[in-house]
């Protein structure tokens, strides 16, 4: 046999369903933990904690929660999200990081297969 014994691609199938349902873009916003599991929104409102540093002072420990936009996974607490994107956590400082330095070459009409994109 030269074909795979079994082909299951659950993340792919779920992402395709989410695209068809229009669940894409900033309209679906969830707070997720470091494992991309949906948690209560209040966790994303906490910028972090002050914890003793062992030398009489305190250090700032950021919380491992952030917002996740679009993709699949719904809003249910504990469900795993994917296929979308996340954005900077509110309340944290990002002043020295610039973005948008990749991705500007293909503004449309490029790529192969479905017609657009950077693949071929």
């Amino acid at each position: 046999m030269k074909r795979s014994t079994q082909v299951a691609a659950p993340l792919l199938a779920a992402a395709a369903m989410a695209m068809l349902a229009g669940c894409k873009g900033p309209e679906m916003q969830r707070c997720v933990d470091e494992n991309n599991k949906v948690v209560d929104d209040s966790f994303c409102h906490q910028p972090g904690q002050q914890r003793p540093d062992g030398h009489g002072g305190f250090i700032f420990v950021p919380m491992p929660y952030h917002y996740y936009y679009g993709g699949y996974g719904g809003y249910g607490l504990g469900s795993v999200v994917g296929g979308g994107s996340y954005t900077p956590t509110p309340g944290r400082a990002y002043s020295t990081t610039s973005r948008g330095g990749f991705g500007s070459s293909f503004s449309g009409g490029h790529g192969e297969g479905g017609g657009e994109g950077a693949g071929e």
Binding site: A15, L20, A118
Partner: protein, 391 residues
């Protein structure tokens, strides 16, 4: 090898959507996923294609070594600033996952060997069609068509998962998957991420434009300000290098595992074609090719070093008017490649269809076939994907 007409499955659109293919129909309303036909091969023909893919891979790796040994970067218009990173990557063998050879062939009865058209070694797509969608299609086909033991040249899925498992100890986690916001790119990237996930790797996904550069840390950061060490990008190196963060990617190349690695620039460049012909003249899997001019050839294709989607291709035959396609690559360096022997099959209406056979390489091994088909001899963005099986 023959093209057989088939009645598409009832609700085929929903069936392919359910396994991940939402871009099944072109803007003009024609199917991109076209299951009104399939290509049927013999097992011996599949063996021929598999051997051709493996042979081409061996030759391409030798050609890359030749380019590096002889510093032939300028002929491929590789930016000089990228050379140290390319040479480092070649020596240190960072992870490389996949690629797709496009070959022309009309089957064993043609009397010819499969001929290499080009190597999409950096950002190949049509992956989920070949690995997932046609696999599920074959499951639904009746025995009257495909025999009681239908087979297909597609173990891509298993090979990808196995490759990620092999790479696990060499990759910092999470492995990021970055692409543009187009359905085809997103779903191809999600599929690759899915295979990494099934291999047990921790993964995250983001858009290319979300990759951040922190000049104080001299590091790429994800949107949550975490440093990125392992990045799969469905985005060509030549575009990355031309963009704002390109110099940073080169400066920090040794501390980031970019997949595919930057040395793939040597193979995804059409300049590899004349170099292969120079190293392996008259090899049965190659077409004669030269930089800039056709030499003595009277039937040939002229194409830019870095064109996509059939752009800026000129097809020349004696005594007929040349066929030219538009595109943004005018003024760029060209290669001239001999025309492949005819590989044309008529559809049920008697119209010609021109297949291009995509041979999938995972972990340097040929493990799958995906067929794109066009109404003319140049594969463009109106081509369709046609499934295959063998008996």
């Amino acid at each position: 090898m023959k093209r057989v007409s088939i009645t598409p499955r009832e609700d085929w659109q929903q069936k392919v959507e359910s396994v991940g293919l939402v871009f099944h129909t072109l803007d003009n309303g024609d199917p991109y996923w076209d299951e009104s036909a399939a290509y049927q091969f013999t097992a011996a023909e599949i063996d021929t294609l598999e051997a051709a893919g493996n042979e081409l891979q061996t030759m391409c790796l030798a050609a890359a070594q030749h380019i590096i040994d002889n510093k032939r970067y300028a002929e491929l218009e590789i930016p000089w600033a990228a050379i140290p990173a390319i040479e480092w990557a070649w020596q240190n063998e960072p992870p490389a996952i996949y690629g797709r050879f496009d070959v022309s062939w009309a089957g064993a009865s043609s009397g010819h060997a499969p001929k290499l058209l080009e190597y999409n070694a950096d950002t190949p797509t049509s992956l989920l069609e070949a690995a997932v969608v046609q696999w599920h299609w074959l499951k639904d086909m009746p025995e009257s068509l495909v025999s009681s033991k239908p087979d297909q040249f597609s173990s891509i899925h298993e090979k990808l998962i196995a490759k990620w498992k092999d790479l696990d100890e060499y990759l910092s986690k999470p492995v990021y998957f970055a692409a543009l916001d187009y359905p085809e790119d997103q779903l191809t990237t999600i599929y690759l991420r899915d295979t990494a996930h099934q291999a047990g790797l921790e993964t995250l996904q983001m858009y290319m434009a979300e990759i951040g550069w922190n000049s104080e840390l001299q590091a790429f950061l994800d949107p949550n300000e975490d440093q990125m060490f392992s990045i799969f990008k469905l985005y060509p190196w030549e575009a990355m290098l031309a963009e704002e963060f390109g110099p940073h990617a080169l400066d920090t190349y040794q501390s980031v595992r970019w997949i595919e690695p930057i040395w793939k620039m040597l193979l995804s460049n059409k300049g590899i074609l004349p170099i292969l012909w120079e190293l392996y003249p008259n090899h049965p899997n190659l077409l004669e090719a030269h930089f800039d001019s056709p030499g003595h050839m009277t039937s040939y294709v002229k194409k830019p070093l870095l064109s996509r989607e059939g752009a800026n291709i000129t097809l020349v035959r004696p005594d007929t008017q040349a066929i030219e396609t538009d595109g943004p690559y005018n003024g760029k360096r060209m290669v001239c490649q001999a025309l492949a022997p005819d590989a044309v099959f008529n559809n049920v209406s008697g119209n010609p269809r021109y297949p291009v056979l995509g041979l999938w390489m995972v972990d340097q091994e040929c493990c799958g076939l995906g067929i794109r088909e066009s109404a003319g001899p140049i594969t463009d963005n109106l081509s369709s994907f046609v499934p295959h099986f063998f008996v």
